[in-house]
Subunit: 208 residues, 2 copies
């Protein structure tokens, strides 16, 4: 990743309670920015409480208080930086909007796939990270997708009775499959266009 993706860590926070500042927010932001820099430079192993504390000018105790593990801090840092690239458009045309969102997703994976895979991989043996990943990312992202799909279903663009959570697994889940269990196959815009065509139209002839 280019360093321009990561906001610069703010200067070590100045404690000015008299002026109504909220230093805890500054400290938190500094820690997240430092963790994001370390993560993108050295991957998951680069994110330790000691390194984040030194880089952000905060105490290790503060980090322990807020995050159950370095993995959960790294995860929050990562997704606080990149969440904005995964907005969910609503132009009223579900095929177009899903196409656009899936393109944005695979573009992100193309640049940051190893970091994303490292986080999901580490979550399999780090309960604190697993909880953060599920609560703060998986459920939130699924919720946004299902919300958009539900509007399409109301408009008759998706069949009544279709389980929308399952659709999420067959679009974004299919992408994660190529990322986490790779077989040398492309994970690109053409792939997501095929996912969408298969799922909207059906792969059996005449919708049988």
């Amino acid at each position: 990743m280019e360093s321009s993706d990561v906001p610069a860590a703010p200067a070590a926070p100045t404690l000015k309670p008299g002026r109504g500042r909220r230093p805890a927010d500054d400290v938190r932001r500094a820690a997240l920015a430092a963790a994001a820099e370390l993560l993108l430079a050295d991957g998951m192993p680069g994110v330790t409480f000691a390194k984040v504390a030194a880089r952000a000018g905060v105490s290790k105790m503060t980090l322990y208080k807020w995050w159950p593990s370095p993995g959960s801090l790294a995860f929050e840092a990562y997704f606080s930086v990149f969440e904005r690239t995964l907005a969910f458009p609503d132009t009223g045309d579900i095929r177009r909007d899903l196409t656009e969102q899936l393109h944005a997703f695979v573009d992100l994976v193309e640049r940051h796939g190893p970091v994303l895979a490292g986080i999901v991989g580490a979550a399999q043996s780090d309960p604190g990270l697993a909880a953060a990943l599920s609560e703060q990312y998986v459920r939130k992202r699924r919720g946004l997708a299902v919300e958009r799909l539900a509007r399409a279903r109301e408009l008759g663009q998706i069949r009544a009775g279709v389980d929308l959570e399952t659709v999420v697994d067959q679009l974004w889940g299919a992408c994660y499959h190529r990322l986490l269990l790779p077989a040398g196959l492309p994970l690109d815009r053409e792939f997501t266009d095929r996912l969408l065509a298969n799922l909207l139209t059906g792969i059996a002839p005449d919708g049988t």
Copy 2:
């Protein structure tokens, strides 16, 4: 898992080259059986070269020679034991055969999900394990699925022109998504029946 799933480790191999035995095979089998026992008892962290060597009565040097990392040994052990449960039926009816294979798969995941997730998770930071997983499991399983789907396509049960690799991601990949990025949703036979219905019929009305 019940211990009956794992074949008992054979007795320490006897070297009888004069009788035409292949002791290397015995050693290999003993190492794999020991690794499978440790894996299912204690998860990935339980599989170390030292423990496998002690349990199987083989030298650590032998293990180093055959496996690049304890993770890759654990992985081979796991899949050598369970591969047979994932056979790919061909009754001539693609919906029925996919249903049956997906049911067998989620039944397996229901019993051994954490071990499977642990292997895939560890692969994200263990290049030797990642290579073994891709070569010996992912590509092989995908190959079997695509082979079966191709016969269905020849018979006109799947539309001409459908990319069959993509179908694999939308069925088994969707299951891995619920396993590796959990959101508290079920990963069961009903789920796979929905995956299949969505994909065969399409989620848009009238196949539009």
